[in-house]
C-alpha cells in the first residue's frame, strides 16, 4: 500500500472507532462523567474539607489531576479492549485481516481511537471539575505529553488484553483485578509521604504512581517522584507495549488459525 492508502485505512479505523463510542455514549462517556462527579462531591467537597491540606494544596485541588488521569487510563484501556475484542468476537476483525492494511496501521488506528476517547472523557471530567474548584495549569507541555503517552500506553495494554481474551469475562478481569487496584494505590487520593517508608517503596513499583504524579506535576507543579524518571519509565513501557502488540498482530496469535 502507498503511504496515502495507508493513511486512508488508518483514518477509516479511527473514524469507525470514534463513531462506535459516540453511538453508545451512555456506556462509554456518561459513566465516567457521573463517577468522577461523585468523586468530586464526596472526596473533594464533603470529606475533602475535613482532610485539609494535601501536598500543600487543598484536597480538592490535589485530587483533581489524579481523577482526570484515572479517567484517561480507564477510558483509553476499555475502549480498545472492548472494541478489539468485540471485533474478534463477531469476526469483523476479518474485514481488516483480509485487506492489505499493514498491521502497524491497524494497531495505530485502534490505539488512536482509544486515545481520543481518553482525551474526550478527560475534557468532560475537567469541565465538571471546574464547578468545584479553580484549575491552574503549571506546565502545558508536561500535561500534553503525559496525557498522550499515558493514553497510548493504556490503549496498547487494552489491545494486548483483547488479543488474549477468549470471552467477555477475560476483558473485565484485568480492569477489575489489576487496573483498578493499581489506580487506587497509585496516589490518586493521597500523597506518597503519607505512607510508611516500606509501602512508599513498594508503591514505586506501580506504574500508575508515575503517571499520576507526572500529571499532577503538570497541573500543580508538585510530584512525589522525579519527573524525568517518570517520563523515562512511561516512555519505556509504551515502547515495549507497542512492540509486543505489533508482534502479536504479526504472528497472528489468536487471530489466525
Amino acid at each position: 500500500m502507498t503511504l496515502k492508502e495507508q493513511y486512508i485505512a488508518f483514518m477509516t479505523i479511527v473514524r469507525k472507532e470514534i463513531k462506535r463510542y459516540l453511538r453508545i455514549w451512555t456506556q462509554t462517556l456518561l459513566p465516567s462523567a457521573i463517577t468522577m462527579s461523585l468523586y468530586f462531591v464526596i472526596f473533594g467537597s464533603l470529606i475533602g474539607s475535613r482532610i485539609g491540606e494535601m501536598g500543600g494544596f487543598t484536597y480538592m485541588q490535589f485530587v483533581v489531576p489524579g481523577l482526570i488521569m484515572m479517567a484517561i487510563v480507564t477510558n483509553s484501556y476499555s475502549n480498545v479492549v472492548s472494541s478489539f475484542f468485540g471485533s474478534k468476537f463477531n469476526n469483523s476483525v476479518e474485514e481488516l485481516l483480509v485487506s492489505p492494511t499493514p498491521n502497524y496501521v491497524i494497531l495505530l488506528g485502534y490505539v488512536v481511537g482509544g486515545i481520543s476517547r481518553g482525551i474526550l472523557v478527560a475534557i468532560v471530567v475537567t469541565i465538571v471539575s471546574l464547578f468545584f474548584t479553580h484549575l491552574h495549569i503549571h506546565s502545558y507541555f508536561v500535561v500534553v505529553v503525559i496525557v498522550l503517552l499515558t493514553s497510548t500506553l493504556f490503549a496498547l495494554a487494552g489491545f494486548i488484553n483483547a488479543v488474549f481474551a477468549n470471552n467477555f469475562d477475560d476483558i473485565s478481569i484485568i480492569p477489575t483485578f489489576v487496573l483498578t487496584p493499581l489506580i487506587y494505590l497509585g496516589g490518586v487520593f493521597y500523597s506518597m509521604d503519607l505512607l510508611p517508608d516500606f509501602w512508599a517503596g513498594v508503591s514505586k513499583l506501580n506504574p500508575l504512581v508515575y503517571v499520576v504524579n507526572a500529571f499532577r506535576y503538570g497541573v500543580l507543579g508538585v510530584s512525589d517522584v522525579s519527573l524525568p524518571f517518570a517520563f523515562g519509565m512511561i516512555t519505556l513501557f509504551t515502547v515495549l507495549a507497542f512492540t509486543y502488540s505489533l508482534h502479536l498482530l504479526n504472528s497472528g496469535k489468536r487471530l489466525r488459525q
Binding site: M1, Q6, A9, S87, N91, S92, P100, Q257
Partner: protein, 318 residues
Amino acid sequence: MARSVYEHFFQEHMIPALTIENLSKVYGNGFEALKGISLEVQQGDFFAMLGPNGAGKSTTIGIICSLVAKSAGRVAVFDVDIDQDFAAAKKYIGIVPQEFNFNQFEQPMDIVINQAGYYGLPAGLARERAEKYLKALGIWDKREVPSRMLSGGMKRRLMIARALVHEPKLLILDEPTAGVDIEMRRSMWDFLKKINAQGTTIILTTHYLEEAEALCRHIAIINRGEIVEHCSIKALLRRLQREVFILDCVEEVAGPVAISGFHVQVVDAHTLEVAIEKGQYINQVFEQLGRQGIHVSSMRNKANRLEEMFVNLVEGAA
C-alpha cells in the same frame, strides 16, 4: 516492437488467477484438514469447489485470504506469492465468507465504505462504489438500517457488495447461496454471471452440482482434504452421464472388438467393458455382439468412484 507487445499480452493472459501447490493444513488440534492439494484457476474462469461438509473448502479459502495460516505449500494470486507480498495479493482478492463476519450494529453503507477504506480507496470513490454495489445487489433501501435487521439473504448480499467495493480481479465466495431462496438464488446467479462476463474471475464453493453446472466452467471436487477431480464441468457431466458395464462373454474374444457407436475395451478373454452414453441403448450392444457371434452370459455395473462420491455428497447435504 509489435512482437514484444504481443508477447506481453500473451503472458498477461497466461498468468493463472490462482495457483495452489501442495497446500496442506494441520490445525492446532492436530487435525489434517488439507493433505497437499494442488489446483490452478485461469483468469476469467468461473470455478467451482465442490465437496461435502468438512472437505476442506473453507480451509483452502481461509489460507488464500490470510485468515488461516498454511502448514506447507505455495499459494500465488496472479503470480504474486502470498509469502512474498501478501498485501499485493490481497488487493486482487474479494472474499465472501461462509459465516457472517460484519458488525451487526453497523449500517450496510458504513460497512461497505469502511471496507473500501481498508483498501485505501479515497472517500469519494468509496461512496460511489458503495452506492453502485448496494444498488446492484438490491439492498440500497436498507443502507441505513442496523445490519442485524437484514434478512439472512440480504446479509449475504451485503457481504458480496463489501467484497466487490475495491473491484477485485478474483472474487471468492464461500457458499454464497446458502440460505437464499430460489428466486433470489437465480438473481444472484445472474449477477455473478454478469460480473464474470465483465472479466472478474470467480471461485465459489457449493454442495450442489446443479449450482456448479448452472454457473461454472471448471470444477475441483474436494473430499477429506484431497482433490478428487479437477476438470471442466462438461467433462465431469459427460463422465457422470456415462455408465460402464462389464459383460461376461460365453465365447472367447480374440483380438479387439468393435461395436460401432460405443467405446469397448477387452479386459480379458471373456470380459468386455462397454461405455453407454446418455441417449444410447444397451440393446444395440447386444445386437452387434450377436452378429459377431459373441453371447453375453451376465452383466454388471462398473463401480464409479465419482458417482459414489456424489451419492455421499447428496446424502451429506440432505
